[in-house]
């Protein structure tokens, strides 16, 4: 068996892994290796052929595949080595990575630092407890996206979509453009989980109805889907008897949430957040296991890839500092608490000494708020209060903490981020 050593091993060659590897290399670490399980770099972006990527990063609107191509080109220019069709099987707390592919077989890689960038997976039908038959014609939206955009096959002709996550909305348009009839999108919650502009461009443009507070309660068809039954739900998300409507269709697409893929992280002993399903990290995006960093959708599910790239670059820089032994010792860390209306924050801990002059804290809100305030509290003192015209769970929010805040509040043990409505 081959045993090799590398300064930094990046698990995943999607947008997070690429940005992390590029940043690590630019920070002066030459020995960076990317392990990618797919047949090409770029990850899920390769099947995201729609536009809307890169406005923040490049100041222009790109498709997902174009966005990926820019990062791939940069990684190639920097000469960062990568292994494709390579599946990481295990990571130990001592950062020994076991991986397998066709040509190297099972290989062991000792890593100075590991960057977790495995992305996420879609919540499948089974996990949604939808009753009914189990025929062909039920797809998670991303699987359908791959079939249509990469393989060039149509998953079906008459489509109902459950869940208004972005991939579901994008696929509503995509299937419509390819000649399918998308009959409706049902969303369990009273608000959409997707970006507003996707609702406008993907549903409104094509007169596809979005039924909020609705779900699928039954699937008909023994071999192939023949119909689904959609019902309204009450405030406890329970179907309201008598509201059922049967929609004939041959396809049900599911866009009901993404789950960070942290099976490998768990093998390394990384502590996970029960809210995000991703690692609990500090200001350096370092997990509870020293020298193991996390970024992108494996850390928490993002709305925009631009933020993934930004976050991953930070992970790459910090991994570089780690292997070069350039990190200052952090003192007692400050806990970052998710207060009223805030589901979680990334990071969860901050060592002010390592936070730099500006630290971006990302979070998601738990409900839809209009004209609310995003507030940062040090103890009882509100140190930042920013009005937002709209806050929605589908869109990631951020606050920036500056070194001045930490300097003015020495000995701080906790910072709370919360939403105030008045």
């Amino acid at each position: 068996m081959t045993v090799t050593e590398h300064d930094i091993v990046v698990i995943g060659g999607g947008p997070a892994g690429l940005a992390a590897a590029i940043a690590a290399k630019k920070s002066g670490v030459n020995d960076v290796l990317i392990l990618e399980r797919g047949g090409e770099l770029g990850g899920i972006l390769n099947q995201c052929i729609h536009n809307g990527f890169g406005l923040h990063t490049f100041g222009e609107e790109l498709t997902g595949s174009e966005y990926a191509a820019r990062f791939i080109a940069e990684a190639e220019e920097l000469g960062i080595p990568y292994k494709l069709d390579t599946m990481a099987l295990d990571i130990t707390p001592e950062r020994v990575v076991t991986a397998v592919n066709r040509t190297d077989g099972v290989m062991t890689i000792k890593a100075g630092a590991v960057i977790l960038a495995m992305g996420c997976r879609e919540r499948p039908r089974g996990a949604l407890n939808i009753a009914g038959f189990r025929p062909a014609g039920i797809f998670s939206a991303g699987t359908a996206q791959r079939l249509v955009n990469i393989e060039g096959y149509m998953p079906g002709k008459e489509v109902v979509i459950l869940g208004s996550g972005d991939i579901g909305l994008i696929m509503a348009r995509r299937m419509t453009l390819e000649g399918a009839r998308v009959k409706l999108v049902a969303e369990l919650m009273p608000y959409s989980g997707g970006l507003k502009r996707n609702i406008v461009q993907c549903l409104d443009d094509f007169d596809i109805p979005l039924l909020l507070s609705h779900t699928v309660v039954d699937i008909e068809g023994k071999e192939r889907v023949t119909a689904v039954v959609v019902a309204e739900v009450d405030e406890n998300r329970r179907p309201i008897p008598g509201t059922e409507q049967r929609i004939s269709c041959d396809t049900l697409l599911l866009s009901c949430g993404l789950l960070p893929e942290n099976e490998l992280s768990q093998s390394a002993g990384v502590e996970l957040s029960p809210v995000t399903g991703g690692a609990v990290v500090n200001e350096s995006l370092e997990t509870s296991v020293g020298g193991v960093f996390a970024c992108g959708n494996v850390l928490h599910v993002h709305d925009l890839v631009d933020y993934v790239s930004e976050e991953a670059a930070l992970a790459g820089e910090n991994a570089a500092r780690y292997v070069r032994g350039e990190r200052c010792e952090g003192g007692e860390p400050i806990s970052l608490r998710a207060g009223n209306g805030v589901r979680y924050t990334v990071p969860s801990f901050i060592a002010p000494e390592r936070a730099g002059d500006k630290l971006t804290v990302r979070f998601r809100v738990a409900d839809v708020y209009k004209n609310a305030f995003v507030c940062v509290y040090c103890g009882d003192e509100c140190v930042q209060r920013r009005k937002k015209r709209v806050l929605a769970p589908g869109e990631m929010e951020q606050v920036v903490l500056t070194d001045r805040l930490f300097a003015e509040n020495p000995g701080l043990s906790e910072i709370t981020i919360k939403i105030e409505t008045a």
């Binding site: 068996m1 399980r37 069709d85 599946m87 099987l89 397998v100 592919n101 066709r102 040509t103 190297d104 077989g105 099972v106 997976r121 879609e122 499948p124 039908r125 089974g126 996990a127 407890n129 009753a131 009914g132 038959f133 189990r134 025929p135 062909a136 014609g137 998670s140 991303g142 699987t143 791959r146 079939l147 249509v148 990469i150 393989e151 060039g152 096959y153 149509m154 998953p155 079906g156 002709k157 390819e178 000649g179 309660v217 039954d218 699937i219 008909e220 023994k222 071999e223 192939r224 179907p239 041959d250 893929e261 099976e263 768990q266």
Partner: protein
């Protein structure tokens, strides 16, 4: 040609019968209406081998359950399917009903079940730490086990096939009659003739029986909903845990599977439609609620799928095995509800023996009792695995990430005799798509492999045969 036996139904009983018959010099034909073996009740059950204490004394259920249980270990080695003798706990939550455990123990002993013991709460907790707070005592049955019903059925089928039994899949029996001392079996793909027939038609066994015998049977499909939990919560239960049985069945059990998942179920709802394997919201809720009576804080958020199976409940409440007096050569294996999976090896062996006696069949000197399962590279040492990958790089390509299934395994599943032709058939053989993402990532790749290996267009690949095509055509060509 005149077959010695035609077996109708390639579920676990039919395949077991085929396997034991293939040990004789006999021409055996198995007819199956679905596109794969193990496609009915055998694929949707609790995946356990009961100890055999539950069935009434003197019943066929008791007899074949205890016999089958005793056979399973040797068979699992011969045929290379996973079986673990974990033991079961039947828990009592009502102090006034502890005596029922004692009744069950005595019943079990009369059935010939070894090692039954009644445990107090503390003893039970030592075996199973997550028992519900209300559990006051339990009946421990050390011989109970867990099995992979797919791999067991497929193992029987492949071994039978290797020993000369013929299989016709996608072949539905439409009629059956006796003529000139022979059986004529009509199907949607032509007529077959045989000296004997084995009726292993599951929920349709009464229909077949009633075509040829005045000893009428009536089978009611009894639907059971189940949920399956992620391997991530594996180990939450170590034994099969039953509540005290009721009239309708053994209640909602919680059991580990041989693959590290946890199965919870079933419900028991008598229905009329023999095809209705749809789960219901009520059923899933019932499963979730009732499980909490025996196991506390079950991590039900980790459910990865739910499914429903139909048990073939015969009015008499017992298995119906053997020839009706007015239909010589027609061997029933009917009413095979729980503990059918446990009993299947014994039923198969018994029916094979009786047919052999009747037809005066000789043992086949070339019979090969052993069969190897599809090679699983994750069970090899790293060195062995690397030698394998060097020889066949497909074993280095992981297709199903969740279950770590390689392209090599999937190719073998397709290329074997009785090979997989659909996503579900691949899943049952090598577990690609069985994991937490339920095929979200691997299904396009598995479709491609089936398409390539079987020489069919990708858009003709199905989930489970018939009209279950995954895609409906190409883009830009509609």
């Amino acid at each position: 040609m005149i077959y010695d036996t035609i077996i109708i139904g390639a579920g676990v009983v039919g395949c077991a019968a085929a396997r034991f018959l293939s040990a004789y010099l006999a021409d055996v034909l198995v007819l199956e209406r679905e596109e794969d073996v193990c496609a009915g009740t055998s694929k949707a059950n609790s995946a356990i081998i009961h100890s055999g204490y539950d069935a009434p004394n003197g019943s066929l259920k008791a007899r074949y359950n205890v016999l089958g249980n005793a056979m399973t270990e040797k068979l699992s080695r011969e045929l290379d399917f996973p079986f673990e003798r974990r033991g079961s706990l039947t828990v009592c939550t009502d102090p006034s009903r502890v005596s029922v455990l004692e009744e069950l123990r005595m019943r079990g002993e009369k059935n010939g079940v070894p090692g039954l013991r009644i445990l107090d709460r503390d003893e039970a907790l030592r075996l199973e730490p997550n028992l519900a707070d209300g559990v006051v005592a339990a009946l421990f049955a050390p011989t109970a086990g867990i099995v992979c019903p797919f791999k067991m059925t497929i193992a029987f089928a492949e071994n039978a096939c290797e020993n000369g039994a013929e299989f016709r899949l996608n072949t539905r029996v439409t009629g059956l009659y006796r003529e000139d001392g022979l059986w004529r079996v009509q199907t949607d793909r032509g007529e077959y003739t045989s000296k004997t027939v084995v009726n292993a038609a599951g929920v349709y066994a009464d229909v077949l029986n009633n075509l040829v015998s005045e000893r009428k049977l009536r089978i009611t499909p009894r639907r059971g909903d189940y949920i399956l939990l992620d391997r991530a919560v594996g180990g939450y239960v170590r034994h099969t845990v039953f509540p005290l049985p009721t009239k309708l069945g053994k209640g909602v059990l919680v059991t580990p599977t041989v693959h590290g998942n946890t199965i919870v179920g079933p419900t028991a709802v008598d229905i009329e439609d023999r095809e209705s394997t749809a789960t219901t919201a009520d059923g899933i809720n019932t499963v979730l609620e009732r499980s909490s009576l025996s196991i506390k804080n079950l991590p039900v958020r980790s459910v990865i799928t739910s499914f429903a199976g139909l048990r073939a409940h015969e009015d008499g409440g017992d298995f119906v095995i053997g020839e009706p007096d007015d239909a010589p050569g027609f061997f029933n294996c009917a009413g095979i509800e729980s503990p059918g999976l446990s009993a299947a090896p014994a039923i198969g062996e018994e029916v094979a023996r009786r047919i052999a006696e009747k037809l005066n069949l000789k043992a086949d000197p070339d019979f090969k009792p052993e069969r190897r399962d599809i090679l699983d590279p994750s069970k090899l040492s790293t060195e062995e695995r690397n030698i394998l990958i060097k020889k066949n790089p497909a074993y280095g390509a992981i297709v199903c990430r969740c279950e770590g299934v390689t392209e090599g395994e999937i190719l073998e599943a397709i290329r074997r005799p009785l090979g997989a032709r659909s996503l579900d058939a691949v899943k049952r053989r090598v577990r690609a798509g069985m994991g937490r993402c339920q095929g979200g990532f691997c299904s396009p790749k598995v479709m491609e492999l089936i398409s390539r290996e079987c020489g069919i267009p990708l858009d003709e690949v199905t989930k489970c045969g018939g009209a279950s095509r995954i895609t409906v055509g190409r883009t830009k060509e509609g």
